[in-house]
Symmetry: C2
Subunit: 207 residues, 2 copies
């Protein structure tokens, strides 16, 4: 009923909270870099903390992973204005979304969760829902409005949202996951978003 209850609560004091934060940050960083196979020793070293402190706070390696994943639940996302211009809204949203999706931190946590999807399905769900899932959700409502307003053909808003996200990411993101291409810079992202909007409009607006 109080603020938050982790399994073992070791964050009552201010110093405890600082250590806890340091561990979480180090845990994210180390897991992202080396995967879940990374050792607890490394996490402790990264946080500048004794290994036992780490166990006091999170109980086990799995507990730490869960705490790290939970952080992503609270990520927020730019909204869409159903009254705004179709192309402009999609462009701004697409641009914002791509920046998130190609962020190195997003890459790291998603690689981690994809690798551990069988071992920790619930965590994979959390990370997906906080990232691509949230993106899709936000788009569906917008598409529905635009269909009702007659700007888009009378299509399933779900499919329209799905296709727009697909066009945005293109193959580039897949290659980014595989480490084959680096992340696009701001200019490239802009151009990718513009292209996606153009293709989407051709396919989906009334002609």
């Amino acid at each position: 009923m109080s603020e938050q209850d982790e399994i073992p609560r070791a964050a009552a004091t201010p110093r405890g909270r600082r250590k806890r934060e340091a561990i979480l940050a180090a845990g994210l960083k180390v897991f992202m870099a080396e995967g879940y196979a990374a050792s607890m020793d490394r996490v402790a070293a990264g946080a500048g903390v004794a290994k036992q402190t780490l166990y006091s706070h999170f109980g086990s390696k799995e507990g730490l992973l869960r705490a790290v994943s939970d952080r992503f639940k609270h990520d927020t996302l730019r909204g869409l204005d159903p009254a705004g211009d179709l192309g402009a809204e999609l462009l701004a949203f697409g641009d914002h979304m791509m920046r998130k999706l190609f962020d190195p931190e997003t890459l790291g946590i998603q690689r981690l969760m994809i690798a551990q999807a069988d071992a920790f399905p619930d965590l994979a769900r959390i990370v997906y829902a906080a990232g691509p899932g949230r993106v899709r959700e936000a788009l569906v409502e917008f598409m529905r409005s635009k269909v009702e307003q007659g700007e888009l053909r009378p299509v399933d808003p779900d499919e329209a949202a799905e296709d727009f996200v697909a066009l945005l990411q293109g193959g580039r993101r897949q290659r980014y996951l595989f480490g084959i291409e680096r992340a696009p810079d701001a200019g490239e992202i802009r151009r990718m978003a513009q292209r996606a909007v153009a293709v989407f409009r051709r396919a989906y607006t009334v002609s």
Copy 2:
């Protein structure tokens, strides 16, 4: 100059070759299921072989991973006929591609390579090139022909190929990677391919 040269060659005798095959099969299976963190003991047990035999053939854990990955280099892919009907060719190709991409074995090896992309960039490259990379390559030439024939608008064939693949996979494949949705069955794949072709034609054919 002979057939094949692995680092340590232990496959001279027929029995040796059988063991080698068994190890490769078990290696793929175990790595796919548990990731690269899986133990060599498990691989040996899966192959019904002593651990030392495994080391005789592949030298190290990394050596085994490389041998397992190399297998995927030889995967083949359905071709496209530039003289064929645009929609029919894309549909057949898309259908075939999706069956491969949603195959559990493809899922396993790709998850593995995404997770190990930083540790073994060359292997990630191999697996990507054998899967999505090959798909894209095959499509680019087809798109170029169709642009020259005037069936498609005068666009960059590379971008057209990229977009078609993106539309095909949609968000479904991403969710599949995260373990959130199961693989689509034959009927669903068919419908997904049909939808992708329809959207692609709207966006890319001359009107």
